[in-house]
Amino acid sequence: MDRVISTLIGVIAAVVGSGIIFIGANKLFDVAPRRWSWFTSLLGGLTGLFVFAILWANRVIASPVIWTLVATIIGTGVGYLLGSLTDTRARLVVGAAGGAVLGLIVGLNMRDVILVFGEGNNQFQVGTPIPNINYGELALWTAIGLAVGAAIWAVRGRSKPIARSLALWGTIGWAIGAFGMPDLNTASRENAILGATVLGLGLGAAAGLGTVPDAIRLRRIETGSRKYIFLTPALFFIAASLVVPTIRTFWLSFLDGRGEEAVGFANYSSVFTDANIIDVSNWTGIFGSRMFIGGLIVIALGVILAKLAGTRRGDAFEFGPGTMTPVVLGVFLVSFAVFATLRGTIINNLWWVFTVTSVATALGLAVAVLADRSKRENLAKSIIFMPMAISFVGAGIIWRFMYIARPPQREQTGVLNSLWVWLGQVSNSGTGKTVAAAVLLLLILGLAYFGFAGYRDGNRGMAIGSAVTALPLAWLIYKFLGPGLGGFAVVEATGNIQSQPIQFTSERPFNNIWLMVVLIWIQTGFTMVIFSAAIKAVPGELIEAAHVDGATESQTFWRVTIPQIAPTIGVVVTTLVVTVMKVFDIVRVMTAGNFDTNVIANEMYDKAFTEFNFGVGSALAMILFLAILPIMYYNIRRMQKAAV
């Protein structure tokens, strides 16, 4: 309970604090154009306050409160004067004097003792910040600073007075020469005063050499400031949570396992030579696989069909459900043959990307189209969208229960296996398989009627669709009556009938597919929602015009709707590719990467944390990052174009 309350108080304090800063920053720049001197005095005061607070917090100056207060007051005064005075000489005097006084205060209060923190092994020391000035170096750096200032002035077109540029850059050079170069940790008060006072004087003079802005510049300051107010927090968080870790990972990927010695590209080469990560040695096996040959035949069939149907209509090819289905099916068969023969983490990842992206996109699109304008559209879409609310880990655990296989002598508790074994029982009992075959036969007769009706009405899509759907049913009848179907078999030795569950998660290579099903189940809801919105945004006039021209529903869909939502398809596909590429949780929960189901993200985790090899782990992370980068870039460019 204490923790809850303290967290709550922390949250409220943070909200109020960030609110004040955020609103305050906006208000500050609201004031700027109207009352410039108020703005500058506030700016001066805040500069004094923050500079001194930061110096104190970093243990540079000793006594905090009183001098911070004094600095705030002096800063406010100098700011006010610089905001209202227009006489150049007076401004210079005020700025230089104010800066020098602040610098002097810092110099006088610079800590001159060495602080010790902690005890025992955890002890550490903080030296004093007072420099050990080397006058030669100081002069050199100041000269470099002045030279840079002159150069910048020249490059900027010499429009502003050279003195300001010289003062600013000369002082920066002085600061480097005084505090940046020599070793600190002396206790020479003179050095402290000299270094800090000249620093303050220089910066003050630079400020004094500026001018009070005219109305146009005031307006520009007001509008230009907003983007920084809004961007700074976001940029800060992105830098802390994304940019810095990325750079560090990149760096680690060139070091050894414990991040100590540089090893060059050894981590990367070890990734690409590891047979567990990529192994294409038996690529010749692809051409021998039945799936590959079958896939090629189906593709050829589809292409011939499309060609025939197209010539009849005067097009090169016809794109429709009847002709696209075999092509898509064939491509899937061929790709599965390829991915199942080659092995390794990277191959698995590519398999995931191909299958999940295409299936989730296709299913989402199909549901969006079919549900569109139907009676219970919202209910259907809600149900399909629901898995989106389940985390990947949760989904992995749920599906592990769906897939669980129990020993043959026990009842199957996994949904899929109990169905499978039940099918086996049906196909092994005389009456059971007769009934099943009869039911299937009725279904085929129904489909045959639809096919005939479609042929009669000239609706080729319906005819071909029915025929295609009937084929697997016929195959089922064959399986039921012939060799038997489902997880039930006669053990030859004993003659007993025993159930034969499927080892969904451990039977290679298609256990990968069963894992992908989980992600497809989750992502279909996402794609469906996006496509549904896109389809509803297709102008009704276009659809109507197509209908008036005599297009069928199917033609309207393929030739009007699809081109209209093409940009959305692009966005969905790229988003999915990125999500799938970094899939981790599902694999981790369901197989932990065993049984040839490893993916890059899980391999990265294994290498970095199970084997404690940060070099290879980081190299894998970088490979994943580099693979995703172009897709992200493409996606962002696309969105930018869409916005224009």
Partner: protein, 471 residues
Amino acid sequence: MLMRRKVFSYGAFLLAFAMIAAACGDSEPAAPPETVVVTETSIVTETSVVTSIVTETVVAENPLAGTTVTVFGPESSDTEAGAFQAALDLFAAANDMTISYTGARDFSDQINVQVAGGNPPDIGILPQPGKLADFARSGDLVALPDAVTDLVQSTTPEGLWSLGNVDGVQYGIPTKADLKSLVWYRPALFTEKGYAVPTSWDELNTLTDTMIANGDTPWCVGIDSGGGATGWPFTDWTEDLMLRFHGGDVYDQWVMGPNNGGIGFADDRVVQVFDAIRNLWDKPSGTYAAGGTIATTLFGDNAPPLEDGTCLMHRQANFFASFFPAETVYGPEGVDVFYFPPVTADIQPVLGGGVFPVAFQDRPEVLAVMEYMATSDYANARQRLQKLANGGAADTVSGFLSPHLEADKSLWTPLEQSFLDILAKAELFRFDGSDNMPTPVNAEFWRSATAFVNGDIDAATATANIDANWP
């Protein structure tokens, strides 16, 4: 109205922003996925007995009062983790401090994550001396104070404490010893069916075949550990058989690795052991795997089928007792163990394991808890509480064995005392070899063993894969 909505969305943005900031700033240690609930009853009934022992050592002005110590370890079953937490709570209650134990099945990964992230627990319970040495050499561990080192070295067998000693400095305390060369079975069932306890490897194989011929299922096997450590039961089998087939010297060479003058996994003798295990497990109708296949069966899931007679034997360490239901009867009438038989009767090798608490933080309260774990008070308290959690009957096997030489032996059943005797007197005792190998080798051993057991690769491929990871 528009204005109001704008203000509201500003507010929502700021709230989310602040939540993130607060979440980042909160120094609460990240809780590992599986937390463990302490069995309250066990503390209540036992506190009075044991606090009296502990409180004697407590001085009036207690410097530990109000402090908190976090402990993270691999023991995550209700029985083991509950008893461990309860034993720690006794010390915590006596000193007005808080000790919280968290157990995770994937401890071996999680501890690496936490150490790498600069956020280790105060005390880690390491089951792998190899990892202990890695951590010690990279400066992550705090050496035990001299007094505790003396205590540990004088009250535990040298064979065990030396595993927590790296380059002459004592880091770990052997608080728990496991006797791994055991086969769990039900004597009554054996008698009923006319089987005799085998006394040699050949007899074990013959018995297996006889059982299959009679229609019984001889073995229960499962090697899933729910995460990165899946496969470790196979490594235990390998070690037990390496000791039995080839003796202690070859075993030591094997643990040493090919690059340090030892032998690799690809050595014929190791491959032979791999194949011997598969031959035993893969006999048709010879193995019951509750999860469908051996590789997908959680090792703890072997307890119910053994108890209900679905299978007749299960080789697992003594800690397996904590996986049986609380009402389980131990001994001749219930579940019992026999010694995993040797090849010949003249060498009786013993494979052991154990855990080693190590300190990651140099704070007085952390070292005080470490010292407590080195005492016999801790050993006795843990045994009382774990026995209670596992049933509490006089003959209950708790699953906990203490290597502490001054522990109160009467707290353990005669069966468990015989385990302790075996551990103390074994002529050929070896610690879990894979846990002594370098972390990458151990990890690949688990991974390749899983693939090998699943039939995905053959022994030659598996052993070659493992050998590729020797440093």
